[in-house]
């Protein structure tokens, strides 16, 4: 397709620039911290979704810069050349309209937006968070619940659950169902791509994949109250066999996530260390979505107790 081929060409053009820029970022941070190259979020994708999104980000930026940079140069040039002191510049005090210029100035942004709009339409469908990823391997299924202020990950097929630690097999699509037990949050692993809201009494769907092994930072990207900055979690991407071993090993180990343990877990807390549950009561996720599980067993005022007023 036209849009694809064009954006493909832009990608090629930009790729070199991207590499240079990335090396510069790494060099800069390495020299400052002497700690090598840190994870650089969406600029450092580890899976197909994140890579595609980074490509669209860079291509769209390049397309717009092609218009914007000449505009900026023209602004500077016009302002400078037509400065009052410049006797060489021709003063045309009544020049206020030109049909040809009008046509051009409406066409430039219109054509740009048509191109970008095409990219938007196609990419919105390709990268719809709810759309399953193409893969020869069956997706593994994870149910995500945002609590005050930590993340609960339930593996219904493995019969285990974790808190603030998401372990996934490398190179395998992960299909997420997400909800919240309290207020809104947004589930986000920058290096893996798309975020999505978690909302009480509702389920959202998200499909991601990590092609590399490693540990990636995850977070909540929607403010949810006082413990919000402590809602960080780690994503551990393991080779498929190690993931199977991990799941097998955890099963039956540690505590069980039953109604009592869940009630304990849902008490507000922040900066929670990873926990693993070797067993989970059946249909816990469905109960949370339906609001059958007591939503907030502790007295609500603890969530946001009255506080001293803001400074100026």
């Amino acid at each position: 397709m036209f849009v694809d081929s064009l954006s493909g060409r832009v990608t090629g053009l930009v790729k070199t620039l991207g590499k240079v820029q990335r090396r510069m970022i790494c060099a800069a941070s390495a020299s400052v911290f002497a700690s090598g190259c840190a994870q650089r979020g969406i600029l450092d994708p580890v899976g197909p979704v994140a890579s595609a999104e980074k490509t669209i980000l860079i291509n769209s930026t390049a397309i717009m810069l092609a218009i914007i940079i000449p505009t900026m140069i023209a602004t500077a040039a016009f302002a400078f050349w037509f400065r009052r002191g410049n006797t060489k510049a021709k003063y045309r005090p009544d020049w206020e309209y030109s049909g040809a210029i009008e046509l051009v100035v409406w066409s430039i942004p219109a054509l740009t937006i048509m191109l970008l709009g095409g990219i938007a339409w196609i990419s919105s469908h390709d990268l719809d968070p709810g759309k399953p990823l193409k893969s020869s391997k069956p997706a593994i299924h994870v149910q995500v619940v945002s609590l005050d202020w930590k993340w609960l990950f339930i593996y219904p097929d493995q019969g285990i659950a974790t808190v603030n630690q998401l372990v996934i097999p490398q190179g395998t699509p992960v299909s997420f169902d997400l909800t919240s037990a309290t207020v809104w949050n947004s589930f986000f692993v920058p290096q893996m791509g798309s975020m999505i809201y978690t909302m009480p009494r509702m389920t959202t769907h998200l499909n991601l994949q990590a092609d590399k092994p490693g540990a990636f930072q995850g977070l909540s990207a929607h403010f949810s109250g006082d413990g919000f900055p402590g809602m960080q979690f780690k994503v551990q991407s393991l080779p498929a066999d190690q993931f199977a071993m991990w799941a097998q090993g955890e099963r039956g180990q540690g505590g069980a996530l039953d109604a009592k343990a869940y009630a304990e877990l849902s008490k507000p807390s922040s900066y929670v260390k990873p926990i693993t549950y070797g067993a989970v009561v059946p249909n816990l996720y469905e109960a949370i979505v339906a609001g059958r599980q007591p939503q907030n067993p502790v007295p609500p005022p603890l969530h946001n107790p009255p506080a001293p007023p803001a400074g100026v």
């Binding site: 980000l57 206020e96 740009t112 947004s186």
Partner: protein, 668 residues
């Protein structure tokens, strides 16, 4: 007796708010004493507080907005300091419950009590003058609108001393803002303050739509109105359509919080998605309510200081109205990550991008206005050119955010924060700083110091870029907004640069005050004796600086798109003014204390509702209503300016203008 209000509401054990409160109260007391000692209360009461003069009301709006800018900026620098300090093992100096109030207050104050009043202030001061008329359609209502905005601003600031402010972000998304999760008075302060000022804003919209549609100088047809009037009309239409949605949405949240309704709660069939949709149905047009008049200011400034008519005037108006309509079709782009289907996201993404077309056209039209001109690099022109550079980048990042798959990774991030500050500071703040410098001599009869003005510009320009460019980078690295604590130590240098940028903006604000004081001190050397200090093109430059209460002795006849420029050129060519018209006595509306009293009762009522002091709330409500009834029964509502006074002033003005234009014709 006093509902929820006890001594615990005063932050005795919290040094930061306590000391701030004391300092603010002391500053207020010193100001009051100073005014009393100079015997200025009567003057202020008669000439400003109760004034129905659109110019005075405009000035009061701008003063309110500048005070709130200082407050909002103090919040900003506290946030930047916290994020520079609270990295890794450190928790910084602000605990979450305090930090969360600060970013909520910063957003609320900057949008509702800084940006809105300053834009409305300019509309008040400029629109009737540019239309060549004597006042707005409803002068007393105009005064009421101002005082209701001030009442909202007062309540927000009272939350600093008594109780707390919302800890939910500036849009108070439920369920977090519901009573179950935010039981304190913070959200109630937010809701009540916005409801009161929202009434004021809606009334302003009624006033300006009526004024611009119905009251214009003879010959001022729609397609002869200055672009600032057009953008003010578009902005007022948006206010009129959007603010009732805000009022209704906040009213539903109030019903949830006060009467146990279930519009947006987690239980009882409530749906918080509904709030998200409704608040953004207001919230997105709100952006254009602010930025359209800003575009109007740039149009005036670029045209005046290029010595040329605006390029593509009709195209500009078409673009304005296109933005006005499109702005209501894009609200969903604020929550692409809610999980709506691909079709919905794509449609709203493309609709959002479409706004880029008329906006881009505007940029090119300003560009071609400079082409063939004689560009004078005055302070307002600095802001206009600075804006053109800054805003295109803001537009670029805006279109990226409108691209759903890109939004999936930068939604709610510091990239977003940088983007909207780029369009609000680079678009709106630069415009109001340009407008402030441009119309200051019209309002007060002397110009502001040029050198300090340029220093202020560079502070804003450099400070802005240092403060927000690092945030784009951090946003791409996965940094989200509203973090009281920063998890990744490698972000520190970027946050430090952002802090330095904020400090430079702070220096700019300090220099603005210095510039004002210095210009007042040296005002005798910088008098604008002609009424036309910039060689202007629109009708406000026809009258004297400051204009008489009634603006024009006789409403000017308008021929052509540039009413004043045409007139001025004819006079210069012929070396004489048009023949002296037939003067008449002028009827002007009486000043009225209605606004002050209504806002007093509204503030009392609002405070009582926040603290559950029901008897006082009823008292305030009845009081406000009684004032309206009393006002409606008034017998006299106008006073007459006698013919002799009109003639004397008009002849003096003609003498000055004649001399000025004669000098100009000699110099041509």
């Amino acid at each position: 007796m006093f509902g929820r209000l006890t001594w615990d509401a005063i932050p005795f054990n919290q040094p930061i708010p306590l000391i701030t409160s004391l300092v603010v109260l002391m500053a207020l007391a010193v100001t009051a004493i100073w005014i009393t000692r100079n015997g200025w209360w009567g003057y202020l009461w008669n000439e400003y507080f109760t004034s129905t003069d659109h110019k005075k009301i405009g000035i009061m709006y701008v003063v309110l907005a500048l005070l709130m800018l200082v407050r909002g900026f103090a919040d900003a620098i506290m946030m930047r300091a916290q994020q520079s300090l609270a990295i890794g093992n450190s928790q910084g100096y602000l605990p979450p419950e305090h930090y969360n109030q600060i970013f909520s207050a910063h957003g609320t104050i900057m949008i509702f009590f800084m940006a809105m009043p300053i834009i409305i202030g300019f509309m008040n001061f400029v629109v009737p003058l540019q239309l060549g008329v004597r006042d707005v359609a409803f002068p007393t209502l105009n005064n009421v609108s101002f005082w209701l905005s001030a009442s909202g601003a007062l309540l927000i600031n009272v939350s600093l001393f008594v109780g707390e402010f919302a800890r939910t972000g500036w849009l108070a998304f439920p369920p977090l803002s519901e009573k179950a999760f935010s039981p304190g008075v913070g959200v109630d302060y937010y809701l009540v303050a916005l409801q009161i000022s929202g009434v004021g804003t809606t009334l302003t919209a009624v006033n300006f739509v009526t004024t611009i549609l119905k009251i214009r100088a003879p010959g001022m047809s729609y397609l002869r109105m200055p672009v600032f009037c057009w953008t003010s009309l578009a902005s007022s239409l948006l206010m009129l359509a959007a603010f009732p949605v805000l009022t209704a949405t906040l009213a539903m949240l109030m019903l949830d919080r006060y009467l146990g309704f279930h519009f947006f709660t987690n239980d009882g069939g409530g749906n918080s998605m509904l709030y998200m949709n409704l608040i953004w149905v207001w919230g997105h047009p709100e952006v254009y309510i602010l930025v359209l008049p800003a575009f109007g200011i740039y149009s005036e400034v670029v045209s005046t200081f290029s010595g040329k008519p605006l390029f593509g005037y009709r195209s500009m108006i078409f673009a304005t109205l296109a933005i006005c309509i499109l702005s209501f079709t894009v609200w969903l782009h604020h929550f692409f990550t809610m999980g709506a289907g691909a079709d919905v996201n794509a449609v709203f993404g493309i609709a959002s991008m479409l706004i880029g077309i008329p906006t881009g056209v505007k940029i090119y039209n300003w560009l071609f206005t400079m082409y063939g001109g004689r560009v004078r690099f005055t302070v307002p022109m600095h802001y206009a050119i600075g804006f053109m550079f800054t805003f295109v980048i803001g537009g670029l990042t805006g279109i990226l955010l409108a691209m759903p798959p890109v939004d999936f990774v930068v939604h709610n991030s510091l990239f977003l924060v940088a983007h909207f500050h780029q369009v609000i500071i680079g678009g709106v703040v630069f415009a109001v700083m340009a407008g402030y410098t441009y119309w200051f001599p019209k309002a007060f009869g002397f110009t502001l110091d040029e050198r300090l003005g340029k220093a202020v510009f560079w502070c804003w320009f450099i400070g802005f870029h240092l403060a927000f460019m690092p945030l784009y980078v951090l946003g791409l690295w996965g940094a989200t907004r509203r973090m009281q604590h920063i998890p990744d130590p490698t972000w520190a240098p970027y946050l430090d640069v952002a802090f330095v940028g904020a400090a430079i903006i702070g220096l700019g604000i300090v220099l603005t005050v210095v510039q004002l004081l210095y210009s007042i001190k040296t005002r005798d050397q910088r008098r604008d004796v002609t009424g036309d200090p910039w060689d202007g093109r629109t009708l406000e430059w026809l009258t004297l600086s400051p204009p008489p209460h009634y603006n024009f002795a006789v409403l000017p006849d308008v021929h052509g798109e540039e009413a004043y420029w045409t007139r001025k050129q004819t006079a210069i060519k012929q070396d004489q003014l048009i023949a002296e018209p037939n003067y008449q006595p002028i009827e002007m509306p009486l000043h009225s204390p209605t606004g002050v009293i209504v806002a007093f009762f509204a503030s009392v009522c609002g405070f009582a509702i926040i603290w559950y002091i029901w008897w006082l709330a009823i008292l305030g409500l009845v009081g406000a209503f009684a004032v309206f009834v009393w006002y409606a029964w008034r017998d006299e509502h106008e006073h007459v300016i006698p013919l002799e006074e009109v003639i004397a002033n008009a002849r003096e003005r003609r003498r000055i203008r004649k001399e000025h234009l004669h000098n100009l014709s000699q110099s041509v």
